[in-house]
C-alpha cells in the first residue's frame, strides 16, 4: 500500500485510561470491554487521507505502569505524534499529566505534536474532570485537546486524524526535517497526489467521511 507520508505515533498516559481501547477502536473499529494489560508496547496501523494524500499511521501503544516508564521513554525520540490520554472519571490520571508531559518533552524531538485526550466521555455521570479543565491544561501547555470515548467511538477518528493534520501542517511549514527519520516521519515512494484507483484498505477507515477536513 503506497502512501505519501508515514507518521509514527505513540499513545501514553496512566494505566487503565483506555489507550489500548483507543488504538483498537481506531484500527479495528471495535471496543473490547475486557482488555489485557499491555505489557511493554503493542502495535497497530491504519491509512488515512489528509488533503487528498494517503498517510499511513503507525501507532505504538505503551504500558502506563511505572515499571515500564523507562521503556516508554525509548519511543519518544522516534515519534512524530503522541496521544497523551487521561480518564475523565479518575482525577488522579489528570493530575499525573504534568509528569507525563515533562517526560515526553524531555525525551522527544521538540516538534513532536502532542494531543491531549480526555477519554471515557461516555461516562458523563461519573465525570471527575470537567471539560474546561482539560481545555485549560491544553491551552497552558500548547497542546491540542479533545474528549473521546473508545467505547462509543466518539471523536476517536478525529483525535488521530487531527494529530496527523497538525503534523502535516508542520511539514508544509517546513518545521519538520522530513529527511531525518528519527523525527517519526517517512516520505512514501509515491509522493504524488493520491492515486484515485488505490484499493480501499486505507480508505475504508472512513477518515474521508469524518468531516474534519
Amino acid at each position: 500500500m503506497s502512501y505519501a507520508y508515514l507518521f509514527k505515533y505513540i499513545i501514553i498516559g496512566d494505566t487503565g485510561v483506555g489507550k489500548s481501547c483507543l488504538l483498537l477502536q481506531f484500527t479495528d473499529k471495535r471496543f473490547q470491554p475486557v482488555h489485557d494489560l499491555t505489557i511493554g508496547v503493542e502495535f497497530g496501523a491504519r491509512m488515512i487521507t489528509i488533503d487528498g494524500k494517503q498517510i499511513k499511521l503507525q501507532i505504538w501503544d505503551t504500558a502506563g505502569q511505572e515499571a515500564f516508564r523507562s521503556i516508554t521513554r525509548s519511543y519518544y525520540r522516534g515519534a512524530a505524534g503522541a496521544l497523551l490520554v487521561y480518564d475523565i472519571t479518575r482525577r488522579e490520571t489528570f493530575n499525573h499529566l504534568t509528569t507525563w508531559l515533562e517526560d515526553a518533552r524531555q525525551h522527544s524531538n521538540s516538534n513532536m505534536v502532542i494531543m491531549l485526550i480526555g477519554n471515557k466521555s461516555d461516562l458523563d455521570s461519573r465525570r471527575e474532570v470537567k471539560k474546561e479543565e482539560g481545555e485549560a491544561f491544553a491551552r497552558e501547555h500548547g497542546l491540542v485537546f479533545m474528549e473521546t470515548s473508545a467505547r462509543t467511538a466518539a471523536n476517536v477518528e478525529e483525535a488521530f486524524i487531527n494529530t496527523a493534520k497538525e503534523i502535516y501542517e508542520k511539514i508544509q511549514e517546513g518545521v519538520f526535517d522530513i529527511n531525518n527519520e528519527a523525527n517519526g516521519i517517512k516520505i512514501g515512494q509515491q509522493h504524488s497526489p493520491t492515486n484515485p484507483s488505490l484499493p480501499g484498505a486505507g480508505n475504508q477507515g472512513g477518515s474521508t467521511s469524518s468531516g474534519c477536513c
Binding site: M1, K8, G40, V41, E42, F43, G44, A45, Q58, W60, S70, I71, R73, S74, Y75, Y76, R77, G78, H107, E181, A182
Partner: protein, 850 residues
C-alpha cells in the same frame, strides 16, 4: 616485544640494574601512574602499557586497574586515544576466552572473565558510560566500545539488557551504528544487536521502532541479497530475533510492507541453478526461510498468521517458494526447509491451499506438485527430514481444507479408479502396504489428516475398495487396515500409524464404528491387545491405542449391532480386562514420551525414523476423548448397565446435569430463606411481647398519673383554703406545703417517665413495622424462587419429553432403544421426586445410586 619493553621503559624509567620487577609490580606501578599522574601523556602511556599487559597479567590488571580504567572513561573523555586504550583493556579483562599468554598460569580460572564482568556491572553507570562512547565518531573509540559491549553482553546478557532498557537513547545510538559508512563498525554493531535482542521482547520492539527493518533490508539489498556475504546472514539473523514470538513486531513487519521486500529475494537466478549454491547462499536462504516461518508459525496469533499468509500469496512470495520447490539444483536441506515453509504459508488458508493444489511439477508427464511431493514421502531412499517435511506440508494442505480432503478421498473411490495417472490417494494406499514401515506410518498419518473434522469423508472412505491380489474379490480399506494390524510382519511403528488412522476415522462417526465392528475379528483383536501382558514401553503404547479405539467403539456406538452394543462391549472390558486396567492402559498413551514430543507443535521433528510414533492432531483427539471414554466405560458395572445419565446422549446428560445444578442451587437458597424467616418470626414474637409489656406498664402509669393528678387537685384545694386562712401561707403552713412540693416533683417525674415510655413504644412500633415488612419481602422472594423452580421443572419436563420424542423417532427409524426409554422415564420420575422432597427436607439428594 621489543616495542613493549621500550614502551615500558619510557613509562617506568629504566629498571634498577640486576632487579627485574615482577608482572604484578609492574601493573601496580602502571595503575598508580594512571591514577595519579597529572600529565595526560603519562596516563595515556600507562594505559597503553596496561592494555599490552592485560593478556598475560589479566588478573593483576583487572583486580588492581579496573577502577583506574573506569576513572579514565569518566575523566579523559576528550582524548580518544586513551579512551580507546581503556576500553580495549577492559574488553581483554572481561573476555570469556582464555588467552594463549595465560595458558600456563594456574591462577587464571575458567570464568575469570565473567567474574570481572560482574565486578564491572556492580555499578550500572559504567555501562552507561560505555554506551555514551558509541556516540563518539572516532573510529578507535566507537569500535572499542562496541567490542566491549558485545563481550559484556555475551557474559551477562540479562543484566546488560536491563541497563540498556533504562537508558532512553541507548537503542537509538546502537541503531545509528548500522548506517556508519565504516563497514567494520556496521558489521560489529550487527553482532552486538543480535546479542542484545536475544529473548528480550521489549528491546526487540524498540529496535524495530528505530527502523531496524528498513536499515536491515537496505544492507541486505546493498550486499546482494541472498548472494551476499555473511553480513546478509547477520542481518537476517537479527531480523529473525526481532520477529520470533513477538506479535507486536510481526504486526509491524506485515503493516510496514516488509513481506513485499522479502518476496523477490526468493527468486532464484538461472545462473544459480546452473552453477550451484555457495555455502553462504545456503545459509542466507536458510535464514530467509526462517524469517518467513517466524511470521506464519502455527504458534503465532491467528489473526497475524492469516493476514501474513494473505500478503504472502498476493505479493508473490508463495509463488516464489513453490518455484523453488519445483526448481532444479536446490540443495536438499534448503528444499526440506522450503517444504516446511510452504506448509506453514498455506496452513489453514483456503486460497493458499488451493494455490498449492494447482502447482504443477515440470516433470514428464506433468504431475501436480503434491503428487510429486508424496512420491518422495513414500520413497525409502529419500532423507528422513525431507520425508517428514512432506508429511507436514501435506498436513498443512489438509488442515481445515474440506475441498482438499474431499479431493484426496475422491481419488480413491471406485469411479476414479480408471484414471491412469498416479494420484495422491493411490500413493498413500501404496504407502500403507509398503514393506518400509516409515512409509506405512507416514501414509497412515497423511490419510488420517484427510478425515479430521470431516464426517463426510469418514463415510466416503468406507466405500474405498482395494484389489489385493488377482482373482480374489476386492476388500474394503477398513477391512484391510484391520487385517494389517493382525499381521505379525507389520511393524510396530506401522501399527501405531494404522491405529491412529482408525481412531480418527471412527471418532464421532457411528456409521464407521458400525462398519468396523462388523469387520470380522476386529473386536477380538482389540480385546486381545488390551489384555495382553507384554512389558515394553512400545507395547504399552499399542495396548493403550487399542484401548482408545475400543473406547471410541463404545462412545460412538449406535447400539444397532447385536452383541456389539455399548453394554456388550463394556461387559467385555469388565470381564476380560477390568475397568481399572482398561483406564490405566488408556492412560499409558499420554504417558509415552512420543506423546509429549508430538503434542508440542504441529511440525514433525525426529532425529531418527524410530522416534516417529504419535501425531500432533491425534494427540489433540486423544486429549479430547480420553476422559469422556473413561467416564462412559466406568458408567457400566459388573452387575449390568447402571442407570445413569451416561445412557443418555452426551448433550442430553449435560442438559440434565445443568438443570440439576440449578435446582440444587435454588434448593439451597430456599433453605436459607426458610431459616431466615424462622429467625425473623422468633424476633417478631419477642418484640410483640415486649410491646405488650410496655403497653401494660404504660396503662398502669397512666392510671397512677390520673390518681396523682386527683390527689394534686385535692391537695391544691386544701392549700387554697389554708392560704385564704393565713396571710403568709408558706411559713404559716409549712405542714401542707411540704407534701405539695414532694407531690409536684413526683408528678413531673412520672410525666417525663411517661413521655419516655411513649417514645419507646413508638420506636418499638416502628421496628415492628420494619420487621414485618422485611419478613414479607422474604416471603415474596421465596414465592418467586418457588415459581422459578416450577418453571425449570417444566422446562426439564419439556426437555425430557423431547428426548423421549427423539428416542421415539430413533425407534421408528429402527434403532433399538427400548430399555433406555424405560430408564429415562424412571430417571425422570426420580428426579421429580428429588426436587419435590428437597423442598421440605434439607437432604437434597435422597436418591441412592446403586
Amino acid at each position: 616485544m621489543d616495542f613493549l619493553k621500550s614502551g615500558l621503559k619510557t613509562v617506568l624509567g629504566a629498571p634498577e640494574p640486576g632487579q627485574q620487577p615482577t608482572g604484578a609490580e609492574t601493573v601496580e606501578r602502571l595503575v598508580e601512574r594512571v591514577n595519579s599522574s597529572t600529565l595526560l601523556d603519562d596516563r595515556r602511556d600507562a594505559c597503553r602499557a596496561l592494555k599490552a599487559l592485560s593478556r598475560k597479567y589479566r588478573i593483576e590488571v583487572g583486580a588492581q586497574g579496573m577502577s583506574a580504567l573506569i576513572q579514565v572513561l569518566q575523566m579523559d573523555r576528550a582524548d580518544c586515544e586513551i579512551i580507546s586504550y581503556a576500553l580495549d583493556t577492559l574488553c581483554q579483562i572481561v573476555t570469556p576466552e582464555q588467552f594463549d599468554e595465560e595458558a600456563d598460569n594456574p591462577t587464571v580460572s575458567v570464568n575469570v572473565g565473567e567474574q570481572f564482568t560482574e565486578m564491572f556491572l556492580k555499578n550500572s553507570e559504567n555501562v552507561t558510560l560505555v554506551l555514551g562512547y558509541l556516540e563518539e565518531y572516532d573510529f578507535r573509540v566507537r569500535w572499542s566500545a562496541i567490542k566491549l559491549l558485545t563481550t559484556l553482553l555475551a557474559n551477562k546478557t540479562k543484566d546488560i539488557q536491563e541497563i540498556v532498557l533504562v537508558s532512553p537513547m541507548a537503542v537509538s545510538k546502537l541503531m545509528d551504528l548500522l548506517i556508519d559508512s565504516r563497514e567494520v563498525i556496521r558489521n560489529d554493531a550487527l553482532l552486538l544487536l543480535i546479542q542484545l535482542t536475544k529473548g528480550n521482547a521489549n528491546i526487540q520492539k524498540i529496535v524495530a521502532f528505530e527502523n531496524a527493518f528498513d536499515r536491515l533490508f537496505d544492507v541486505v539489498r546493498d550486499e546482494g541479497c541472498s548472494d551476499g556475504g555473511i553480513i546478509v546472514e547477520d542481518c537476517l539473523i537479527l531480523m529473525l530475533n526481532l520477529l520470533k514470538n513477538n506479535s507486536s513486531n510481526q504486526q509491524f513487519f506485515k503493516e510496514g510492507s516488509y513481506i513485499q521486500r522479502l518476496a523477490p529475494m526468493f527468486t532464484i537466478a538461472p545462473e544459480t541453478e546452473e552453477n550451484g549454491w555457495t555455502p553462504q547462499k545456503v545459509s542466507n536462504m536458510h535464514c530467509m526461510l526462517q524469517v518467513v516461518r517466524a511470521l506464519v508459525s502455527p504458534s503465532n496469533q491467528l489473526q497475524i498468521i492469516s493476514s501474513c499468509q494473505k500478503t504472502m500469496r498476493t505479493c508473490g512470495l508463495l509463488e516464489a517458494l513453490c518455484n523453488m520447490l519445483m526448481g532444479s539444483g536446490v540443495p536438499a536441506d534448503i528444499l526440506t526447509e522450503t517444504i516446511n515453509t510452504v506448509g506453514e504459508v498455506i496452513r489453514g488458508d483456503l486460497s493458499n491451499q488451493e494455490y498449492l493444489s494447482t502447482v504443477m511439477a515440470p516433470s514428464n508427464p506433468p504431475r501436480p506438485a503434491i503428487v510429486v511431493l508424496l512420491m518422495s514421502m513414500v520413497n525409502e531412499k529419500q532423507p528422513l527430514s525431507l520425508r517428514c517435511a512432506v508429511l507436514y506440508c501435506f498436513q498443512c494442505f489438509q488442515y481445515r481444507n474440506e475441498v482438499g480432503q474431499a479431493s484426496l478421498v475422491q481419488t480413491l473411490l471406485p469411479s476414479s479408479s480408471e484414471v491412469s495417472s498416479l494420484t495422491a490417494g493411490q500413493l498413500l494406499c501404496g504407502g500403507l502396504f509398503s514393506t518400509d514401515s516409515l512409509a506405512n506410518w507416514l501414509s497412515a498419518v497423511a490419510l488420517m489428516h484427510a478425515l479430521i473434522e470431516n464426517p463426510a469423508q469418514k463415510e466416503q472412505l468406507l466405500r474405498v475398495l482395494l484389489a489385493t491380489s488377482v482373482g480374489s474379490p476386492p476388500v474394503s480399506l477398513l477391512q484391510q487396515c484391520t487385517t494389517l494390524l493382525q499381521q505379525s510382519n507389520y511393524k510396530l511403528q506401522s501399527k501405531v500409524g494404522i491405529l491412529m488412522l482408525l481412531s480418527t476415522w471412527l471418532s464421532h462417526c457411528q456409521v464407521c464404528v458400525k462398519a468396523f465392528l462388523s469387520t470380522p475379528s476386529s473386536v477380538a483383536y482389540l480385546i486381545a491387545q488390551v489384555s495382553a501382558n507384554e512389558h515394553d514401553e512400545n507395547e504399552y503404547l499399542i495396548q493403550g491405542l487399542c484401548s482408545f479405539l475400543m473406547g471410541i467403539c463404545i462412545q460412538f456406538n449406535d447400539n444397532s449391532l447385536q452383541n456389539n452394543k455399548r453394554e456388550d462391549l463394556c461387559q467385555l472390558i469388565v470381564k476380560r480386562i477390568g475397568l481399572e486396567m482398561f483406564t490405566a492402559k488408556l492412560g499409558d498413551v499420554s504417558k509415552h514420551e512420543a506423546y509429549s514430543r508430538a503434542a508440542k507443535q504441529p511440525q514433525i521433528r525426529a532425529k531418527s525414523a524410530s522416534e516417529l510414533l504419535l501425531d500432533y492432531e491425534f494427540c489433540k483427539l486423544f486429549k479430547a476423548l480420553e476422559s469422556v471414554i473413561t467416564k462412559t466405560v466406568n458408567g457400566y458395572d459388573v452387575n449390568g448397565p447402571n442407570l445413569t445419565e451416561l445412557t443418555l446422549s452426551s448433550e442430553a446428560s449435560d442438559l440434565v446435569s445443568q438443570y440439576k445444578d440449578i435446582i440444587r442451587e435454588q434448593d439451597n437458597k430456599m433453605n436459607d430463606m426458610k431459616q431466615k424467616i424462622a429467625a425473623l418470626e422468633v424476633q417478631n414474637e419477642t418484640i410483640q411481647r415486649q410491646l405488650t409489656d410496655a403497653l401494660t406498664a404504660n396503662s398502669q402509669l397512666t392510671d397512677q398519673n390520673i390518681l396523682l393528678k386527683a390527689q394534686l387537685t385535692a391537695a391544691a384545694g386544701a392549700g387554697a383554703a389554708a392560704a385564704s386562712a393565713s396571710a403568709e401561707p408558706e411559713p404559716a403552713n409549712p405542714t401542707t406545703s411540704e407534701p405539695h412540693v414532694a407531690l409536684n416533683t413526683q408528678i413531673s417525674f412520672y410525666q417525663s417517665e411517661n413521655a419516655r415510655l411513649l417514645e419507646e413504644i413508638e420506636a418499638l412500633k416502628i421496628s415492628l413495622h420494619d420487621k414485618s415488612r422485611n419478613s414479607s419481602s422474604v416471603v415474596e422472594e421465596f414465592e418467586h424462587l418457588k415459581k422459578d423452580q416450577e418453571d425449570l421443572l417444566e422446562l426439564l419436563t419439556d426437555q425430557e419429553k423431547k428426548i423421549l420424542k427423539y428416542k421415539q423417532i430413533l425407534q421408528n427409524l429402527g434403532e433399538n432403544v427400548d430399555t433406555e426409554d424405560e430408564l429415562d422415564d424412571e430417571d425422570f420420575m426420580e428426579r421429580r421426586e428429588t426436587t419435590s422432597t428437597s423442598l421440605t427436607s434439607t437432604d437434597d439428594h435422597p436418591r441412592s445410586e446403586s
